[in-house]
Amino acid sequence: MKLHTIHILVENRAGVLSRISGLFSRRGFNIESLAVGTCEEAGMSRMTIVVLGDDAQIEQVKKQLNKLIDVIKVSDITDQSTVARELALIKVAAEPGDTRAGVMQIANIFRAKIIDVGAKTVILEVTGDSEKIDALETLLRQYGIKEFVRTGKIALLRGQKGIKSMK
């Protein structure tokens, strides 16, 4: 069992997200994260799904996704050379003084931006791979995380290679 990153090119139509999420739930596949948005190809969206499973399960995931009429292309890019990012917003308890200075120092090290400052809290914005965000979350926990929200992972193949609609 390991985490796989699946990249899907889909028709940008009403209901396509529910077709895909429904497929995952009824076939018992475990979604870790899912990110979707429009892309450079007209009428299409790109989706990045992180799934936990063994090789046979991932094979089924890919085949079942391919059966959906609105799915144009499915690629498992786990073992390929990719860049991948997640974005997180973290609201941390940070009273003015030493605490706030400590939070800001950690933010600096992680190249996180402070995008909101309140009387008793600050909000950090950070991008990076999952491990980086996990590490930042762990460090900030001692100060008290009030709210934490993160997107799913998005990924692209490095260099010239790409995932295009032409099969």
């Binding site: 889909v10 028709e11 209901g15 429904g22 009824r26 085949k63 391919n66 009429i69 609105d70 144009i72």
Partner: protein, 556 residues
């Protein structure tokens, strides 16, 4: 100027639709108004579930796409069981539903249900058409998706205001071209080469064939491969009729209620050639013990079926007929194979067992029916013991003459499906083999057969039980018959009340004359056979056991 409803009906005509099974209601009134004088025959059923099953039966008997029509809300929801039945058995179906007007969508309007949401997991694809201009292309694509690749049901949901929209100009309709849907028909050449050499080397090969062969029209190819290479053939429930029952290489049905010959052969074979099958649990029993000594070639048009339940050695994605033809072309006729064929023959001889006693045995009724109909019948079944007795004891010789709900196991399927089968093949005698439980699930369709003079014959194997459940209670629940006993019903009386003729049969000697009376009557007919109440379907592989661990023996 033309309305969306008119465009819809014209699009259906363009697809060659001659018959629709449906039930009107508020949200489909504009479509019904168009159907009033359209050259399409509409069969009014008595419950929308029957419309879906009838369209399914029509599709299975003919190989064409079946069409059903229902109103929004309850009408659409009543189609659900029928759509799911078609989905599980890969039957090409287009279901058209009315919907509340677009401006009311999502407002819990009267008779609104989110039928595209509801049917997403049980359709190959579905559409909610929000613009009248899209209707023509959607219908084109829907029929294309339903009838090609691995066939399946497609639902088209049309809001009422889309039906009444006046279109200035008719938008052009291209041929169906979907960038996310391109089925593979030709098998991969290298894989075919590998299959050819495995078949050439095998000492104890077995063909395991199912519904995909019927759908592909590949029955003749299966028979040719079997005869060329001297390979015995086991068919699934869905594959009955692929090879004639009395063909020397036919082993009969494989699976939970399969024959000894088929189930033993799969256990001992060294090469399993699986064609148009999906290694369903009712076929394989304990999956690890299925074909334990065999290398496996799996030919299927749906790549997702290959390796889903059982790892295979040679996967071949493609149309069963095309792939088999490529394989056959490369093979050299096999001589001999005496040991394996003798072993298989021995099982076949051993499996026929004790003579049925003097009682009214279901096996006897089915065999008499088979004898009388010869090559002129289509047998449709309900689900349960009646289905298994029909599958075991009727001699199927041609594809598309056995119509049964295999995957979903839908009680109540048979009677409406038989009505659909009649409209597809009016030249054939269509018989619904039923149980008293199943028949009562869609018994209201007696109204339909009377209205349209549908000469379907209903053979009720009446044991006043939900027989298959009772059998499991007898065998595995210490004979505690919890809620499986049904009081006696006078089916002949019910039939007569609708205007259908019928006979009740209680003695063995009356069986043949009663069947003859039914088959020579022009109209519909109901035969109420009061069979031995606790007759069981044997042999049987208990759930979870290996496929060769069979209990009980088949009645003669």
């Amino acid at each position: 100027m033309k309305t969306g409803a008119k465009l819809l009906v014209e699009s259906l005509q363009r697809e060659g639709v001659e018959t629709i099974f449906g039930y009107p209601g508020g949200a489909v009134l504009p479509i019904y108004d168009e159907l009033y004088d359209a050259p399409i025959r509409h069969i009014l059923v008595r419950h929308e579930q029957a419309a879906a099953h009838a369209a399914d039966g029509y599709a299975r008997a003919s190989g064409r796409v079946g069409v059903c029509l229902a109103t929004s809300g309850p009408g659409a929801c009543n189609l659900v069981t029928g759509i799911a039945t078609a989905y599980m058995d890969s039957v090409p179906l287009v279901a058209i539903t009315g919907q509340v007007p677009t401006f009311m969508l999502g407002n819990d309007a009267f008779q609104e249900s989110d039928i595209t949401g509801i049917t997403m997991p049980i359709t190959k694809h579905n559409y909610l058409v929000k613009r009248a201009a899209d209707l023509g292309q959607v219908v084109k694509d829907a029929f294309y998706i339903a009838g090609t690749g691995r066939p399946g049901p497609v639902l088209v949901d049309i809001p009422k205001d889309v039906m009444t929209t006046q279109l200035e100009a008719e938008p052009p309709i291209g041929r169906a071209k979907l960038r996310g849907y391109q089925p593979t028909y030709e098998g991969h050449a290298l894989q075919i080469e590998k299959a050819v050499s495995l078949i050439g080397e095998a000492e104890r090969p077995l063909l395991y064939v199912g519904g995909g062969v019927i759908a592909s029209g590949a029955s003749e190819d299966v028979r040719r491969l079997a005869e060329l290479m001297l390979i015995p053939v086991a068919t699934t429930l869905m594959g009955l009729g692929t090879v004639p029952c009395d063909h020397p290489l036919n082993l009969g049905m494989i699976g939970m209620h399969g024959t000894e010959a088929a189930n033993y052969a799969v256990t001992e074979c060294d090469l399993l050639i699986a064609v148009g099958v999906r290694f369903d649990d009712r076929v394989t029993g304990k999956i690890d013990a299925f074909a334990p000594n065999a290398r496996i070639i799996h030919i299927d048009i749906d790549p997702a079926e290959i390796g889903k339940n059982k790892p295979v050695d040679i996967p071949i994605v493609g149309d069963a007929g095309k792939v088999l033809q490529s394989i056959i072309r490369r093979l050299i006729k096999k001589e001999g194979r005496e040991t394996w064929l003798a072993r298989v023959r021995h099982w076949k001889e051993e499996q026929t067992v004790r003579d049925g006693d003097d009682g009214l045995s279901p096996a006897y009724i089915i065999r008499e029916m088979s004898d009388l109909l010869g090559d002129h019948g289509i047998v449709v079944s309900e689900v349960g013991q009646n289905q298994m007795w029909a599958a075991q004891h009727y001699c199927f010789r041609r594809p598309r003459t056995w119509i049964s709900s295999g995957g979903l196991g839908t009680m109540g399927y048979g009677f409406p499906a038989a009505i659909g089968a009649h409209f597809a093949r009016p030249d054939e005698t269509v018989v619904d083999v039923a149980g008293d439980g199943s028949f009562q699930m869609n018994i209201q369709e007696l109204g339909t057969v009377v209205q349209y003079k549908v000469p379907v014959k209903v053979v009720v194997l009446n044991n006043m039980y939900l027989g298959m459940v009772r059998q499991w209670q007898e065998l595995f629940y210490d004979r505690r018959y919890s809620y499986t006993e049904l009081p006696a019903v006078d089916f002949v009386g019910i039939a007569r009340a609708y205007g259908v003729d019928g006979i009740r049969v209680e003695e063995r000697e009356e069986v043949r004359p009663a069947l003859e009376a039914a088959f020579t009557t022009d109209g519909p007919f109901v035969l109420d056979f009061r069979i031995e109440r606790e007759a069981n379907v044997f042999p049987m592989v208990p759930a979870g056991a290996a496929i060769n661990e069979m209990i009980g023996r088949r009645q003669a």
